[in-house]
Symmetry: C2
Subunit: 454 residues, 2 copies
């Protein structure tokens, strides 16, 4: 991964509170999400800090971020009704603002709690009203963000001076994310990030080349005169794909287009997305548009390929069914694999992958069948077919077919997951009308271990 | 979640470096992992901070943690060969130690690089040697941790005074984790955490009750005289299960046992693990021990149940196969569901769940069949069968069977994943010889929407 950075960006700190996150019991999803949203509006998240529910630690972190020059601090968590939930109070102390009861907010929260209280009749109504009141105490002069759950958010401007402004958001991502959008529309937020540049953010995706090749392409692009210094480019390997995320000021639009064309010329087979769409989105949209249907017969991936194809709402329009055929008997009985093929080539072979694809399509009456067989490990590998060796076939009722074998890196879970990515890309290629595929396609940071096409 | 905390614990800060993590491109796994390891040895991680590759931010974070009284700071990342990788240098500045070349380390790294260099013959050997030398420059007086990858780690004691000691580890979890164990065995590390108490850590798991009920149980336990102040108890809802993690000093062992018996008496049906084992581990171990086999016919969970049952190495010993039957035609053709059942009760019904379980078992010749059908959403819900309504059946060849329906909370991916948890628990109950199941079992923070047992 590499990234350029503008030096005069508006800087922000993200402050995650919660002992669950600090002790590693749950992992923080808000920090990365907020960081990406900040980046989109031209604000650099310079630090993400996780603290527990000790008010002293929270206050120290706020002061540290202010001292380091953050124009904006975004907090997540600590807004619940219990005594542990101290964020609002500490932010009031930090900004030097007194706490006052917001009557409108108090009745708003009471309204939200009404249906909850009728569902749990044993709860003590007085205790609930006290909690309710606690959540309606806010620092004077803050802008209230109406609750999505039961906790309100806040935008708290500095009492004096120009920074930092503190945006106070609840911890659950389902509440935090829409409330972040509310926060962005407030006047106080606008004032805090007034100096931020507006950027355009674009994403390219490539499959089947190592990250180092993209780094090399960027070097060559620069040496051939494309002024890449006008772009902030970040490359990253994710789930076997390369993501090239670029942020630029609008006048650099032409430079970005030049770069995209340059990458497309050097990597015509592997650049599969110019608009940030994922392979899953592309496959789903082509399937819906074409009325074609798919079915899966998988061994090594153990159900994950069907699981991935059914991830999206509406997938029942094109996903007809799947079989998970771990044993040889199951391959024969449930995917109509000829036992002779298994005997001659082994259960892990391109021949059996093809038979699985054909069996899946005919069993479920689908126009496309997908077959996957391989060695997920940690046991079962051999010299010829080591752990990570996986065979794929995608076959269409029009006679088109793509069959490949490859060796995937990593442990059992990596191999299982990565194999669904390879299969998705083979499906994408088949759907785009290609019945054969460049060898470079399948490398995915990996060596091709053999291939076969019919 | 709730947690007690001892006030005089040794405190540590975790400092994660790397622009990929800060910008939200990859999520940090090291912070939570290190926090849990620290907790095990009686050290409280008081803050986790993520910074980019700006040396000023890194230095400011180190100084902040020192000012906040951390006895130990553990850093991850920034040890690579490129100019961006600055952690060692900044730690030297922070501790006031000069950098010197460690000749033994230099030749150790050269040895590690040899096979890599022969694999990539186009690399410039001079550039590599320069990088190699950069990685062998360390603060005088540090203890070197031999590389697992190519980057060495360090334990850097304070130049004067007693704290903080800095443990410098590489970013990739596969390198960081074993090198953490090396670090722990060094003399410098032992000196830094000398005051830390040795704790015992134990985990209980419950399924089928809301977190508030466990909180109530803890309150009652305390009021009945169990001295819970001797235990640090953290409760957490994870994947639909309640985890009760307790840390205590060895003399409190008796108090902990008392608590476990108290919880077992109040929640006999829902406490399923006293030794921290997960439901997946328990199911796998019973299946391996008993020689019984399973097969799956799933609709709503789209392959994820098979995927979960095949997650573990060696699962082919008991998992025979699965079918993913999204369409009614597939349910009939591939899981032998009687079309009349679908007509009379609907595809989402306990009757069809039972037929799916039976069909799976007979198709694959397994001794246990699992059937899952439901409404994953966001579309397809009705008043009677809303989004999240899922029917399960687990049936054994000995005639034993558990069938349930429930309404699971959350969006499509939550419902899909949670349904595999419910099915795992029904399988566990069936394996433990129970053919019927308490209603409380299925609540999982959810209301039971109906049930049926035959």
């Amino acid at each position: 991964m590499s990234a350029a950075r503008s030096s005069d960006a508006v800087r922000a700190g993200i402050l995650i509170t919660g002992t669950e996150v600090l002790t590693g019991i749950i992992s923080d999803r808000n920090g990365p999400w907020l960081s990406q949203r900040l980046r989109e509006i031209g604000v650099d998240a310079s630090m993400i800090q996780v603290v527990g529910d000790r008010p002293d630690d929270l206050l120290a972190a706020l002061r540290f971020m202010a001292a380091e020059g953050m124009a904006l601090i975004v907090t997540s968590g600590g807004l619940g009704p219990t005594a542990d939930d101290l964020t609002t109070e500490v932010v009031a102390r930090f900004t030097g603002r007194e706490m006052l009861l917001d009557a409108r907010l108090e009745s708003r929260i009471a309204e939200i709690l009404k249906p909850l209280m009728s569902r749990w009749p044993n709860l003590d109504p007085d205790a609930i009203l006290a909690s309710n009141r606690k959540q309606a105490l806010i620092p004077r002069g803050s802008t209230v963000l109406d609750p999505i759950g039961t906790a309100p958010g806040l935008v708290v401007p500095p009492l004096s001076g120009t920074r930092p402004t503190v945006v106070v958001l609840p911890g659950p991502p389902k509440e935090l994310q829409p409330m972040w959008e509310m926060a962005r529309r407030t006047e106080a937020f606008g004032a805090a990030v007034a100096g931020a540049t507006t950027y355009t953010n674009s994403i390219l995706r490539l499959f089947g080349i190592p990250e180092s090749e993209i780094a090399e392409t960027l070097r060559v692009a620069e040496s051939e005169g494309i002024p890449l210094e006008q772009l902030e480019i970040t490359t990253c390997l994710r789930r076997g794909e390369i993501e090239v995320a670029t942020r630029y000021e609008p006048p650099a639009e032409g430079v970005y287009r030049e770069l995209v064309e340059f990458i497309a010329r050097r990597h015509p087979d592997t650049l599969f997305s110019r608009d940030g769409s994922t392979v899953d989105e592309q496959v789903a949209s082509v399937l819906v548009g074409s009325g074609r249907t798919v079915a899966v017969a998988e061994s090594e991936s153990g159900g994950l390929m069907s699981g991935r194809l059914t991830e999206r709402p509406g997938s029942s329009a094109y996903f007809l069914g799947g079989v998970v055929v771990y044993s040889n008997e199951a391959k024969i009985a449930s995917a109509d694999v000829d036992p002779e093929l298994i005997g001659r080539f082994g259960a892990v072979s391109t021949e059996v992958a093809e038979a699985l694809a054909d069996g899946a399509a005919s069993r479920f009456g689908a126009s496309i069948g997908i077959g996957i067989t391989g060695v997920a490990g940690p046991d079962g590998g051999s010299d010829e077919k080591p752990v990570g060796f996986v065979c794929f076939s995608v076959s269409a009722s029009d006679g088109n077919r793509i069959t490949r074998s490859t060796r995937l890196p990593g442990g059992r879970s990596d191999v299982r997951e990565r194999s669904t990515t390879v299969a998705m890309h083979l499906l994408r290629r088949l759907l785009s009308g290609e019945g054969s595929i460049a060898a470079s396609e399948i490398r995915a940071g990996v060596r091709a271990a053999g291939r076969r096409s019919s």
